[in-house]
Symmetry: C2
Subunit: 414 residues, 2 copies
């Protein structure tokens, strides 16, 4: 069963927003046994929407469309769909009541453009949007299902989870798609490939292996699909376990999780706690960690020590800052040890560097980053030299810091 996603909006094509909806929808569809053949982003232009839809209909049986359902004049999706399917427009009483109820709840007056939110093509099934005013529209076009949803992420997410996926499961007999992901660190993609070449060559054609490298980590993904869920999992697991055994020292997790989640899982199991002391990463490591539900069992918190004053508050001495500077082995070690002491945790990580674009010197150019990890018995610091792009320096510093925590944890348990 193939699906396509069409996201509509000029803001995507001029790069004003990143289309995060598609990845989320693709994941949900996959979990339901539906493969995504293509994702297409087009502008708020009737002809272009029509062309994309008609081509998608040639390739897929399910087409999910997001965007262009707002109350303003640039939102043309539903009118374009009505024309495409040769339908008129009608005002839906239930949607109108829902919109009126929302405006009443927030004590706001309604204007005609809000009422127009209740206008829908007259041949579609209307699905109420519990979290917004734009309804979802479901079309059955000679057996092909076309669904139009708002582009606001959380409105789309609720609709997908509560309405669209259940309805698709009812409408189609869906196969089972299985992905097994293995997260590795500290080994390059081509070396990993060389290590597991024999296993890769022995894979049956029904199982596909992919390498997804990112910032010093490589995700290995084994994929298959079919009808017998237990059998598919068992088949993949045979090869997954061969790979895991072959490259054991580099394995971070045997599932598709982020490195910080792997750290949280290990620390939770062992009853360890963690704190952070961040300068150039500016709270990004704490943010990565606190994205994960249940992190509070491990993560106590930390400091974003941007100013000298705050660095002193978290345990760096005046003398160290004066003698070695904020970006130095000494400072970052004192930050890490200060976190252990002040925040009362078993482990800590500290980062101090020059993220750029300004602040570099000949001695310490932009991209110079010191990272330290500590537990109650030791502190280890490492110097990194990244590039000259701020966002990448923050990202790479965070991943390097997390990898260092993981390595210290592994060392401690050996």
């Amino acid at each position: 069963m193939l699906a396509e996603i069409i996201t509509i909006g000029d803001e995507i094509l001029i790069g004003q927003i990143v289309d995060t909806n598609s990845a989320w929808m693709a994941k949900e569809l996959n979990a339901a046994g539906i493969k995504v053949k293509q994702i297409t982003s087009v502008s708020d232009d009737a002809d272009h929407i029509t062309e994309a839809l008609s081509q998608a209909e040639k390739r897929a049986e399910i087409i999910l469309i997001t965007g262009g359902l707002g109350p303003t004049k640039d939102d043309i999706t539903k009118y374009t769909l009505a024309k495409y399917f040769n339908m008129g427009m009608r005002r839906d009483a239930a949607v109108l009541a829902h919109v009126e109820e929302i405006f009443k709840r927030f004590n706001r007056p309604m204007i005609e453009s809000n009422r127009k939110q209740a206008d829908v093509p007259d041949g579609c099934t209307v699905i109420q949007n519990a979290n917004g005013t734009a309804p979802c529209m479901w079309f059955d076009h000679n057996g092909t299902i076309i669904v139009s949803m708002p582009g606001v992420p959380f409105e789309m997410m609720y609709l997908m989870e509560d309405e669209i996926i259940p309805r698709l499961k009812k409408k189609f007999e869906l196969p089972f798609i299985y992905h097994k992901t293995i997260l590795t660190a500290n080994i390059g993609e081509s070396f990993l490939a060389q290590e597991i070449e024999e296993i890769e060559d022995s894979l049956p054609s029904s199982i596909k292996l992919a390498y997804l490298p990112k910032l010093g980590q490589v995700r290995l993904r084994l994929s298959t699909s079919g009808t017998d869920e237990a059998q598919l999992k068992a088949d993949v697991e045979v090869y997954a376990q061969q790979i895991i055994k072959k490259v054991k020292p580099y394995i971070v997790a045997e599932e598709d999780i982020a490195i910080e989640k792997a750290i949280l899982d290990i620390m939770k199991e062992k009853g360890f706690t963690l704190s952070t002391s961040e300068s150039c990463t500016g709270g990004y490591i704490a943010h990565l960690i606190t994205q994960h539900p249940g992190c509070s069992a491990v993560f106590a918190g930390g400091a974003v020590a941007y100013s000298y004053e705050l660095k002193e508050l978290v345990g760096v001495t005046d003398e160290t800052l004066a003698k070695y500077g904020a970006v130095s082995e000494q400072t970052v070690k004192e930050m890490a040890l200060g976190a252990i002491t002040n925040f009362k945790t078993d482990y800590s990580v500290a980062v101090s560097g020059i993220a750029g674009p300004d602040g570099g010197t000949p001695d310490k150019p932009v991209g110079t980053v010191w990272i330290a990890v500590a537990n109650k018995h030791k502190v280890v610091a490492k110097l990194f030299t990244f590039g000259n792009k701020r966002a990448q320096n923050i990202e790479r510093s965070a991943i390097a810091a997390l990898t260092m925590i993981l390595n210290l944890l592994k060392e401690d348990s050996n």
Copy 2:
């Protein structure tokens, strides 16, 4: 001049990664006067890549492709392109030398799959990739330019900035595309539309207005294109200023910046400093702020006070925590005032809430968030009730907190 972007990779279509490359590329292309007609994501499948490319060639004169250039077996882009253009493959000596140099620098042995990175279709122009082993390939297909780049974001970014955009500017006579964005807050999309309806109706057909709502903010974007840069800007500015005058109280910024950047700009100008004290947002507000170059002139840092212990460290009393709990008006106010005192800043913001999915109670369900902003003279707290999704609660809390800082700043300057 129309371009299309094709991103290749199964990881996009199963939702394992979010395609952030396309938005970045679209922005760069726009700035160079090139409109993006469509963005298409396809799998690592030769037939599908070929189909997408051949359709893109019907619509656009420039096609930028990313992905599928790695050293492993699932990477087939360059072989598919060679077949599509009826070319053979050759090993490029300069690329091979570059790859060898990289391996030498990192003191790593080379294997055959690394050498294959130097294989390219024999009719393309090879552009060296200074930041990786996969070269960039430039094809001129009867006047249509097709460029294949690696999907690793920072490799692609350097190639676009240093090589592709300059070459496209040289090859084509490009028009000028101008977008003017106005950021508003505290007003809904439809009300904003009603307020500026007369101005919108008076726009010439050459200027397009779009509304981009997100979490309590609405971006207004006026777009136009042509050859006379100064004239285009002047034309748009007339209408932009009319809009700004009409909805003055809601204006956050007269350019396409994030709300935290608008705050940094105002505070920098006034010589104010800022600190954060975050519980449920877990460092996300600090991260948003520290993304921006030069933020250290304003931002001193802050605390991620996840544990009770850390909350006490940042100024919340034992009694308050015991009597009112961590998610309460009293706690969040003490966090904000503690930040002012301990971190020695003019302004502070504090957030404490239940991000979920666990931790909710009948009294304080998941999504309950208290936010306080303070300066040296006052502290204001507000209760929010968001939804039950952790990521959205973090995002919405952060934006609400930033909006509260901005409102307090505006109040103070009146």
